[in-house]
Symmetry: C2
Subunit: 188 residues, 2 copies
DNA sequence: GTCTATAAAGAGATAGAC
DNA sequence: GTCTATCTCTTTATAGAC
């Protein structure tokens, strides 16, 4: 992984956007953290919005690649769901998905990112549908609703997860797998 | 419910903050939607941030009141969990919890809202702990983790739920109850 | 590729009349 | 309680030298 200035710029911007929000983050801050004058940023991008767009693109691509690789590494339909959860949690908690800042993108670009997000959700649905067809996951609830439940369960973590907390992201993923598959009610 | 101008101001600001984010929403926009000049806003609040603060306060108070009332209306520990889910979903999807905009608040006020949110989460934990103690909910996972799972499952809905979609908020709550309590794995 | 300097627009907020 | 008018500061972005 080479760290060009352009790449450092994207990383810095991503951190700041994540911490303070896209709109609240100023080009001055980004430049200051990067250790350059703000005018220098415009050699690498032509608008502040470009930063968010690039970050969203690579973030979604990374998550998708990680999850695809993980899921394709196993055959058992239920194990594929488990792998999906593990890799999705790891990817979204590291590669902070900028999905909450998506509304700051304008028009065409926003649509493009939304389409990529939708495509990823389709991947999630297909994995769950596979487990349904194998008889490992209940099919009295439509796959779309099951997928929404799973993404809900996983995604909100970005708001409270802390790498130095008492639960690692790996441990968290195992809890999610347990709760999602088995539920919390004590079996009679 | 009386609709004073101050109240209309808060409602308008809440809608705009929710739609575009606190920082991206300008006092000019708020004034325009309200049909007044922007200077007029400063008769009702002394700073833009006051709007967010008031909205967070009442939003959290409303959610807490709704959930407390619902939960206290039943005795059975597992039914209390079900009532919690139903009322939480209804409250957060209507009274859009401004929790994602919380970081825009400064210092003391931010701490105050976070404390209120923590107190609410403590309420959630107590309801789940009650069901654990009654033997209705598994106790091999700590109540804190179960609560985080539940809040994850419920809260992310605010990003995709649409009142005119093919799933009402009541129906959604029933799906959450089912998935949270029973899990999605097909029982052998 | 980075700098200094500055433009141009937009933001939150205030003064004082009505 | 709302208005017109304006202030002051901050923002994104550009121009042109090095």
């Amino acid at each position: 992984v080479k760290t060009t200035t352009s790449q450092r710029l994207l990383d810095t911007a991503a951190k700041l956007f994540w911490k303070n929000g896209y709109t609240s983050t100023t080009t001055r801050e980004i430049a200051a953290v990067l250790g350059v004058q703000k005018a220098s940023l415009y050699h690498h991008v032509s608008r502040k919005e470009d930063l968010l767009y690039e970050i969203c693109l690579t973030s979604l691509a990374n998550i998708r690649a990680a999850v695809t690789a993980a899921v394709d590494s196993v055959e058992d339909p239920l194990d594929r769901v488990r792998c999906l959860i593990r890799s999705h949690v790891a990817a979204t908690l590291i590669d902070q998905d900028m999905l909450t800042e998506l509304r700051a993108l304008s028009g065409q670009r926003r649509d493009e990112i939304v389409a990529l997000r939708d495509a990823y959700e389709e991947l999630v649905r297909s994995v769950i549908a596979g487990a349904q067809q194998a008889g490992d996951v209940r099919d009295d609830i439509p796959v779309k609703q099951l997928s929404l439940c799973l993404l809900n369960l996983l995604n909100w973590s970005i708001f409270w997860f802390q790498p130095d907390g008492d639960l690692s992201s790996d441990q968290l993923a195992e809890v999610f797998i347990d709760v999602f598959l088995s539920g919390v009610a004590r079996k009679p």
